[in-house]
Amino acid sequence: MANPDFQGREYPATVPYAVGREKIREFAEAVGATDPAHHDLVAARGLGYPDLVAPPTFAVVIAQRSEGQYVTDPAAGIDFSRVVHADERFTHHRPIVAGDELVTVLHVDSVTSRGPLSMVTTRCEIFAAPGTGAENGSPAPGGVDAGSDRPGTPVATVTSTLAIRGEDA
């Protein structure tokens, strides 16, 4: 059963993930995304982007790395062989583009159990790392709080819920 003590936990910001052109092309190919803005620099710039644009679910690559800090922690009580993905949400404060250097702060928003079934909801707040030149995208709604302790400009929020079946489920 998932350990309820993890609810509300916040992890330190990850080291930056560098978004590469070839990674965007590889991911786009894997999900069958043929839009030229994923593959062709001229097409992406024609749409007003500084570089190749990531597909709408690309942020899962970054989020799942960060979620690993929690779900692979033996103390969290999550048997990954019994995990089923329940839901997923991507909120893009601005599109992810090649050249971005992104850091993630992982939050465990909810841990609940009913009978042998546990549900855990995580939230990854993804930011453009300060001073990397990746902060030049459109400002996020509400802008940046000067003086806040957030590690950069908000880029995306990824919320994921996993269901973990107990041995009897």
Partner: protein, 155 residues
């Protein structure tokens, strides 16, 4: 389908949908997507999700699944193409959410065929967005539920 940059560097949005031309209930089209085992391996590599249930038949059966199943995120990611190609700009999707209601088993030989259809669910002129709801089915049953993409469009 794809907007072209003109000589002044601005974008010709003439071929892209505009909010004023849309009505709730309009179809944005349909698409058929086929998943085979190599496709799952390719997605595993591209995404970094190497959970064995997506490529190891024995393992999948041992943990109580009918066999190897597609990554839910592969299905979610693949059906998004219907929306981004309709919008003409993959960066226009500001919010995208789904629930995973049923697994998609992918046979060792042949393919699993997933059907997707999209409709305009809501229009928000003030925010400059349309919400597209996707219906995603495999063998007649819905495999994703509440699949909603909010897309920023020109007025």
């Amino acid at each position: 389908m794809t907007a072209q940059a003109d000589r002044t560097g601005t974008v010709d949005t003439g071929t892209r949908p505009r909010l004023a031309d849309l009505a709730v209930g309009d179809s944005i089209g349909t698409r058929t997507i086929e998943f085979d085992r190599p496709r799952l391996v390719r997605y595993a590599g591209a995404s970094g999700d190497f959970n064995r249930i997506h490529w190891d038949q024995d393992f999948a059966e041992r943990v109580g699944l009918p066999g190897v199943i597609a990554h839910g995120m592969l299905t979610m990611g693949s059906v998004a193409g219907l929306v981004t190609e309709w919008a003409g700009d993959p960066g226009a999707v500001v919010d995208y959410t789904t629930r995973f209601s049923r697994p998609v088993p992918v046979p060792a030989q042949g393919t699993a065929v997933v059907e997707v259809a999209g409709k305009i669910a809501t229009l928000d002129a003030e925010a400059g967005t349309a919400r597209v709801d996707l219906t995603v089915t495999f063998e007649g049953a819905r495999v994703l539920m509440k699949t909603q993409a909010v897309v920023r469009l020109a007025p």
